[in-house]
Subunit: 94 residues, 10 copies
């Protein structure tokens, strides 16, 4: 089941750099594991912004929330979720 | 080069049904040809709305505009475009 | 799996009354069947507006879209969907 | 009498963790007591966000305000309230 | 129990004048009866707009919806409702 | 002459509590004096929010600004003003 | 007493031209009389839009509403009003 | 003197095609004359939308309004204007 | 050439009072000099807000920006600019 | 390939002046190099705001993101990007 997720990262300019760099490294590792697991199906940078659009493939709303709220940068992100359904004109199955 | 495209269809309830049905059939055929050509890479229905999120893979902004403005339902759609870049944490190449 | 759905009905004042009355009767019957089936779990009127907030319990985003797009008043409604997850402080299971 | 309540929690990332953890524990206990009392009828997590949609069943606007403003996290929340009425197509009574 | 209600009237310029004049006359009579009954406690014109802010004093959300949806101009109005509670600094009781 | 005034209070969670408690006490006393003087005609709490809707009865825009900008909590409030006129269907005079 | 008024004119493209031309001529005459009377103190075109910003000098909110709602184009305009007060740094009196 | 101008064209789907085609042809000719005159310095299509961003080089706000309001499609456009100044880091003069 | 300018002042409540008082005094002196020079033609307080609407009469966009960006409170203000043109119904020349 | 980019700079008033002055100097040098390279084709100040509208000419969305995210002031800016296409009425090629 697919969800489009928009994430905007808002790290205050005066945040501790060592701390946030560590968070970003954890975020990257966590994200790549989820991608390899097939749960984080697409991850795109929004050109010009510290933001991404992603597509998640999970079994339920609960699983989606578990994954998103476990992101190391979750406290610094503004997230919005759009549930996606099969489009009748799509030649591929979701 | 990837673009996320949000399309909302707004057909007035009193539009001529035969005419708009024909447009929708043309739209579907056109869309599926573009999908087979690899230019319309993803097409998802927004659950609960007459709208879709799509990802296009085209060579330029000009090509993107040519494709979108040629859609049979273009005069009935509100469209917004977000240019996508390679995300440094993505394990796949755009 | 639960979804909060906000529906605003926008019937033009000059619409044919017999036609829209028939649609509303179909909508009511369809809605009540879905409620009896347990898929449309809650249906509340927004006080002062021709709108409702509803909670649907369906198996997937696809099922949600099938149900909502089949509503007789669908062409006259502006709908937005919020996926709901289990809240850790809730004493009931979703 | 039912009210749909949307609560978004905004705890600054640099807040004292011990203090806010204590607030969250109090919030949980307070919320569960209200749920057991039948006043906080539904509590759902918004998937992907530190937010919830809730339904309160209280006797008046005054009681609603007393309950919400007594929440331990109230100073950290952005709250909006929608009064709900009986829907003519609902098969259940509010 | 008090509710602040904002009503914006949107009558299309090409509506039948005799018909809408009749509606406005009914609206006025209905409104004045509700004012005399003490349910429509305040009625103010928003300066410069075809809109009003009103305060209703009703026993429940259901009663509020019954009153508002029975207004002759209801199909032509955009309405929003704000539930009001006793303010701790107010010297009068709601 | 009447004005509807919407006040939202935004006190940062880390503000000095003794200081803001003193401000709130001054605000209450000041507000109650204005109510007794007939200038602050209505004061209602917005249910669920640290906000109020008020109606002021003053002689001019200048007097309104003098009163509002003298509120002890003025630096912490977001205020918006709507000028009110006599409604032709109102049975009471403003 | 001064009010800043923003007026946006929205005449449907298919409106009867003779009728709306007559309205515009009446509007112009009415506006110029109010300017000569000193009530419509300033009238500026918003560059690039069928809109104006104006400053009215009237004795009350009621008088402002009487003037604005009597404008021949009132049914075709979206109007918003901002009450203005004396600025402490202004060298002129309002 | 430069102005960034955003124009969105909103032609109703049921407009007379011969009439609007004629308007579009006039618009194109008029636009190209202004470009040759150096007044309409840049004209870009917004990718995916029936809209453009343009830069005008005119002597005054009045001249800008004269040009924009004379556009054949002016009654069908929503226009917004942003005045531009010399940027201190720009290597070219406006 | 006239411009309507909206300025909202946002001084953080915890700013150093001596410093911001000095800025405000400079702002007042600077503003009054510009008013005497005829460049800051009108200055009105928005009733109930720490904001003003002003009309500037300057020779160009560049001069407008020079004046506004030189305001002592510029770093604390949110400013928006609307270019004004001669209105065909105005009896006065801009 | 052209992109319109809107950049708003938001430096907190209490930021270290020496540090942000250094950033601004780096930003200026970086920006001017990109202008000389033909990648930052236009750079205009928004009159009255600490913001600019720019046009970039780059080979891809990826190149655009690389350039924008490398700006020294990137952490202090809110950026939005609009992809531009050739306009059929433009006499110049993008």
């Amino acid at each position: 089941m697919l969800f489009l997720v928009h994430m905007q990262v808002r790290i205050p300019p005066d945040a501790d750099k060592a701390f946030t760099d560590a968070l970003k490294a954890e975020e990257k590792a966590f994200s790549q594991q989820l991608q390899r697991d097939g749960k984080w199906r697409h991850l795109w940078r929004v050109a010009g912004e510290y933001a991404n659009y992603s597509v998640f493939d999970v079994g339920s709303n609960d699983e989606l929330h578990e994954v998103l709220s476990a992101l190391p940068l979750f406290p610094y992100m503004q997230i919005s979720v759009t549930p996606l359904a099969q489009h009748p004109s799509a030649i591929a199955t979701n």
